[in-house]
């Protein structure tokens, strides 16, 4: 490669700037908290216990999510049925639900007095007890199985149709396909997927506690919370946040080191058709898997929907105003995510010759999800407070932080697409002198359209459902929808809150579907 002539190289400063921005946001926040801390700090024995539990639950949650996601993704990859697209979208909903809604939805279905326990009671079987480590893992799988499935499904769809055809022509059965095509793909996709979910789970707190059944389920984030509001020990909070970051950085490094870049030569985007897996046994297995996954993920959503439906007519103007505000924040978040993710993904793809630098850039971005939301919020508050009224900046700051939080997921989707585009068309584009905006318009954007749509959809939906940092900045009159939901619940208004939860769910799904679909329409051939 003639490095100096690379047409994407012009984007590198942008890519590095984006990474620097993320680093400044994370690092700046933690440092701001650390600087504000008065005096020394020491970690208590229970902090180490919290760290151990955090690693344990995050690792278990990530592994379980991925182990379950592989067969589900495979089933979805090789089956075509009516409503498949809708099902894939619906199954993605848990990932974008506000924590409190998801917990209640899970409890309504799997709790002691939930639907499943009721059903068991009919047969005289004792109710389920989901509380404890199993509850934490259950909830995290509920949240992250959809993400894992989606990321792995993309890996499957990225295997060129030509290879399946080649395998079919060689008379390869499902086992051979697995060995020849699927295992190498999984080898490339899984480490990153496990890592992302691990990182998300490291900052879990409310879910871990509610379903963990008690103080045994103390995570680092709860310890940070305690340090901050119980002892007002900012030094300890910052050190715990750094510990969390260090842990995540190690996890990210291991994952990126284990992952092998997929062999990105490809064919011509023909729709994937499968000649294997036509046996009845496999068909039954796939159908069963899809039904089970759908039930697990959709029943709690159904419970939330049924609970909220009678209340939806009673939603007042304040709710719609909050919904509008949330959509606005989500829109800005999408712009932030895409504006940062595109140069980052192209830079990382362009840096293949220097994998260490590329990995470094990726790790920095992944740390965004692994940073304590409380510490980021507090840090930003401390940084803004001397210069401006944090309350006035609540919505822009929320949009920025939400946008950055969605970056790792955007990169997971976009880096493979960017790498593949570079591998397949880099030389051709270079030989044609395709550079600058023309390259972006004619090559990059069309080739990345699917992953751009997915990233935008995820960023929007995550932002809609997330409280982000707004709790520290919130203006009483300017609540976002999730904040309104929490406030309603805190004011005994559980019914109104159920209506808002349903609205939030519907909005998130609607926006997700629109953007994701926008990226897929005509994207093939």
């Amino acid at each position: 490669m003639v490095a100096r002539a690379g047409p994407v190289t012009a984007l590198r400063p942008l890519g590095f700037s984006a990474a620097a921005l993320v680093l400044v946001l994370i690092g700046g926040s933690v440092v701001a908290v650390l600087v504000r801390a008065e005096g020394g700090f020491s970690l208590a024995p229970q902090d180490w216990a919290a760290l151990r539990f955090t690693v344990l639950q995050a690792a278990l949650s990530a592994l379980c999510s991925v182990v379950l996601a592989v067969p589900v993704a495979r089933a979805l990859a090789r089956r075509r049925f009516a409503g498949r697209g809708v099902l894939v979208t619906l199954m993605g909903a848990p990932f974008i639900l506000p924590v409190i809604v998801a917990v209640l939805g899970l409890v309504m279905v799997f709790g002691r007095a939930g639907w499943v326990s009721d059903l068991l009671g009919v047969f005289g079987i004792a109710p389920l007890n989901i509380y404890g480590l199993k509850g934490v893992v259950l909830a995290h799988v509920f949240f992250n199985l959809p993400l894992a499935t989606r990321l792995i499904l993309q890996g499957w769809l990225a295997i060129p149709a030509e290879r399946f055809r080649l395998a079919a022509s060689l008379g390869a059965g499902p086992r051979d396909i697995a060995r020849l095509l699927e295992r190498p793909m999984l080898r490339a996709v899984l480490p990153g997927t496990v890592m992302v979910i691990f990182l998300i789970c490291t900052t879990s707190f409310a879910v871990a506690l509610a379903l963990g059944g008690g103080p045994r389920a103390t995570t680092v984030e709860l310890a940070i919370y305690q340090a901050f509001r119980f002892d007002f020990d900012l030094g300890r909070a910052a050190v715990l946040a750094l510990l969390q970051l260090a842990l995540s950085a190690v996890a990210a490094m291991v994952a990126l080191w284990v992952a092998v870049p997929s062999d990105a030569s490809g064919g011509l985007d023909r729709t994937v058709e499968r000649w294997d897996a036509t046996r009845t046994g496999l068909r039954v297995m796939d159908t069963g898997l899809i039904v089970l996954a759908a039930l697990f993920l959709l029943l709690p959503l159904l419970a939330i929907a049924l609970r909220g439906l009678p209340q939806i007519a009673a939603l007042d103007a304040a709710v719609w105003a909050a919904a509008w505000r949330s959509l606005w924040v989500a829109g800005v978040s999408v712009i932030v995510t895409l504006a940062l993710a595109l140069p980052l993904a192209l830079t990382i793809a362009d840096l293949r010759a220097r994998p260490r630098v590329a990995r470094g850039v990726e790790i920095v971005v992944y740390l965004a999800v692994a940073t304590s939301p409380l510490v980021i919020g507090t840090g930003l508050f401390l940084l803004i407070f001397p210069f401006a009224d944090p309350v006035a900046l609540a919505l822009p700051v929320t949009a920025l932080v939400n946008g950055v939080m969605a970056l790792p997921f955007a990169l997971r989707a976009m880096v493979p697409a960017a790498t593949e585009t570079e591998a397949r068309f880099g030389r051709l584009a270079a030989s044609l002198g395709l550079t600058g905006t023309a390259r972006l318009r004619l090559l990059t954007l069309p080739r990345l359209r699917r992953s751009l749509g997915f990233s935008a959809a995820l960023a929007a939906a995550l932002s809609l459902g997330d409280l982000g940092v707004i709790t520290l900045f919130a203006d009483p009159g300017e609540a976002t929808l999730p904040l309104l939901l929490y406030r309603l619940m805190a004011g005994y208004q559980m019914d109104a809150a159920a209506g808002v939860a349903l609205l939030l769910l519907a909005l998130s799904l609607g926006v997700f579907w629109l953007l994701d679909r926008g990226g897929r329409v005509d994207a093939e051939v």
Partner: protein
């Protein structure tokens, strides 16, 4: 005149040197054993491989420093010659200007090129709907509108049948006659060299041998070429 001035290509243990001249308008078939460096040589001319030392000179100017798109070179690769998300017209239009926004005159020129390669009326189609031969023709149409003085073909027709391949080589020859381009084509088949006419350039034993007249060279091969061709000779 295309000149390799003590050109030295290295990558790990691989090494290839070239010090020779190809006259303007020549058609050269590049032959040699697998791994000898035929594609690497083309990559170096195209701007995808930086030489360790030496220079590639076209018309008295060294072109090594130029980015691929600014070299006087059109390349047709082994595969991935077309953007699958763009129509044939758009793919061809990139040869005129990479921005894809063609003027009226250029539009006419593109249609004419598509016609010249036998694809008239198919400009709105996407590559996946075409046969292999048609895809090759589309790439040639783009080469035609690019009108660069050097054309590099890296085994682009190896997937086609003999009759179709012969037809394509005929088409390439005709197009290069029109643009007076200097042509370098990598091939494994001595038959291609005879079809193309012109010269044969052997890449073997870490050296690019100076081009010789193809028919003569194949009729009485030197030791290196004979070793490459093996016991069966083209009759």
């Amino acid at each position: 005149m295309l000149r390799f001035d003590r050109l030295d290509l290295r990558q790990g243990a691989f090494r290839l040197t070239a010090d020779l001249t190809i006259a303007k308008g020549d058609r050269v078939t590049v032959m040699g054993p697998s791994g000898a460096g035929k594609s690497t040589l083309l990559a170096a001319i195209g701007g995808f491989f930086a030489p360790a030392s030496g220079a590639i000179v076209w018309d008295g100017h060294a072109i090594d420093g130029l980015p691929p798109g600014q070299r006087p070179v059109s390349t047709i690769f082994q595969d991935n010659n077309l953007f699958p998300h763009l129509t044939l017209f758009q793919n061809t239009a990139m040869g005129v200007r990479p921005s894809g926004r063609a003027s009226a005159a250029e539009t006419a020129q593109i249609h004419e090129a598509l016609e010249a390669v036998g694809l008239s009326g198919m400009g709105a189609r996407k590559p996946a709907t075409l046969s292999g031969g048609q895809q090759s023709r589309a790439a040639l149409a783009r080469m035609l509108v690019q009108a660069r003085p050097i054309v590099l073909l890296d085994e682009p027709f190896s997937a086609l049948g003999p009759a179709l391949r012969a037809e394509m080589i005929g088409l390439v020859t005709a197009l290069c006659d029109r643009t007076e381009a200097t042509l370098l084509m990598v091939s494994h088949d001595p038959g291609d060299a005879l079809l193309l006419g012109g010269d044969l350039m052997l890449v073997a034993e870490s050296v690019v041998h100076p081009p010789e007249e193809a028919a003569g060279a194949l009729a009485a091969p030197g030791p290196a070429l004979a070793a490459y061709l093996g016991p069966t000779r083209p009759g």
